[in-house]
Symmetry: C2
Subunit: 283 residues, 2 copies
């Protein structure tokens, strides 16, 4: 009887370790890229959250996530949207009910009713990722699945220099996994910073969008610079070569965090800067 549909925006955090990434096999129609293969037998974040929402709302729904984080990648501020005819639900009650049905490693930070024109996928303005390196002789026993262990001494000054060449608008073809299906490989990086707080090194990167594996290849390249395998002065050449083989290794998924997503016409983004990231978590 009620033809009105309410759209909700979800902000969620998850530890990606036990999941085959965000993506479900079901295709999100607003997403233009390829569908990554599955076959791991692991659940996805999307299917797990969708099941919890369905259990509360008692109807089918499609959950469209902004970033299709890869297997093992974590999120502190993933954003998704879904529609429901159940217009009378108090958002905080819905949030608690869904959280009670989610496993320990996924949490809904906020649920808010939004205009039906809001689209978590296509209306993104900026995204921020963080990458956590555990730079110590000993491996990180309490966070082996949450940080990339590098025991080598890193030359942070050379890494900063390399990073400075990547800031701005560039063709990042050399820093993306081929076959990403995007029409353009030009992206703008607004911020690329390296925060050192031994034994942690946090690399933060904000941009208007990222190609497939782009953050992990940037981080892997900065690490290669840090251990002396790549000369920071060659970064402009690597960029202009558009050749993936010229850039550094792809850093593993388990050090990567989707930090926040900001939308057009909105100052809104998931809270928490690097300082919070460093202090607040066993995360």
């Amino acid at each position: 009887m009620c033809s009105r549909v309410q759209r909700y925006k979800l902000t969620l955090a998850y530890r990606g370790t036990r999941y085959h990434g965000w993506q479900e096999q079901v295709y999100c129609p607003t997403w233009k890229g390829p569908i990554p293969g599955d076959g791991s037998g692991l659940p996805t974040i999307q299917s797990t959250v969708t099941a919890a929402l369905k259990d509360v709302l008692k109807h089918d729904l499609e959950l469209c996530g902004s970033s299709r984080t890869d297997a093992g990648v974590h999120a502190k501020g993933q954003v998704a949207h879904f529609d429901t005819p159940m217009v009378q639900i108090p958002p905080e009650g819905l949030r608690r009910a869904v959280n009670a049905r989610l496993p320990d490693d996924i949490v809904i930070r906020s649920i808010e009713p939004v205009d039906p024109t809001f689209d978590a996928v296509s209306l993104t303005d900026r995204k921020r990722y963080q990458y956590l390196i555990w730079n110590d002789a000993d491996k990180p026993v309490f966070c082996s699945d949450l940080a990339f262990h590098r025991w080598q001494k890193l030359d942070f000054s050379a890494m900063q220099q390399a990073a400075s060449f990547l800031i701005g608008e560039h063709d990042f073809a050399a820093f993306s996994k081929p076959g990403h299906g995007r029409t353009s490989t030009v992206r703008t990086i607004h911020e690329l910073s390296i925060h050192v707080r031994p034994p942690k090194v946090v690399i933060g990167v904000t941009g208007n969008g990222f190609l497939w594996n782009m953050v992990r290849i940037i981080v892997g390249t900065l690490i290669d610079v840090g251990v002396g395998q790549i000369d920071p002065q060659t970064i402009p050449d690597i960029l202009s070569s558009r050749d993936r083989r010229r850039a550094g290794k792809t850093a593993p998924a388990h050090g990567l965090y989707l930090h926040w997503i900001r939308y057009r016409n909105s100052a809104d983004y998931s809270p928490g800067g690097v300082a919070q990231f460093l202090h607040e978590d066993p995360s």
Copy 2:
């Protein structure tokens, strides 16, 4: 041919989540308490470290751990000793070889040759434990197995008051699990502190020794005080009752960390204060 035996002292850290505690079914002869039952099918820390040591040293050995941490309990500075006729091993080389054979959640922090009279079990002077509470409305997605989630508002002032009654020499029978097999239930607590750094609450306790579940019962009692279920003024009565039923709940194992152990005639203990604990880790 070589009848000389070298004793080594090990300091190790581990995430206890995947283990059935420290203890192996094999009995450590210097330990006087009961042997906890097993039957979980999970490996123990002791058996895992023993296997790695044997693989390097190529002989049987007995690893005597100072604290038999329960299933799920973590350690930042557990201490153990073992004897080997292989007297020519450089300790740092041995440490690296053993670490390379250990899983991601156990690490040997140090291996040092010690006098054969050193005994990790019987010569302890002081031990320190930490208990991590995640005091937030949302559960801790990145450390669900490393902190105890309490969403309730805690009255820290009442908790501090209750803690002050527990410092000093007392009969802690009311704060121990019955059947612990100790002849005396009198222990001295040198320090019992509550550090609040939202959303983390760290309870640190240093003592000359602890009864079975004593730290977890103290923490559970302080939490019961914090939520108003126990009046802090009743702590002296609870102590003198020697009745376990009068004290609070037993806090779960997964928030507990064995922090360090200090030995007689030694200023040596595993490094790292609360500040390090709070800042350095996803741990």
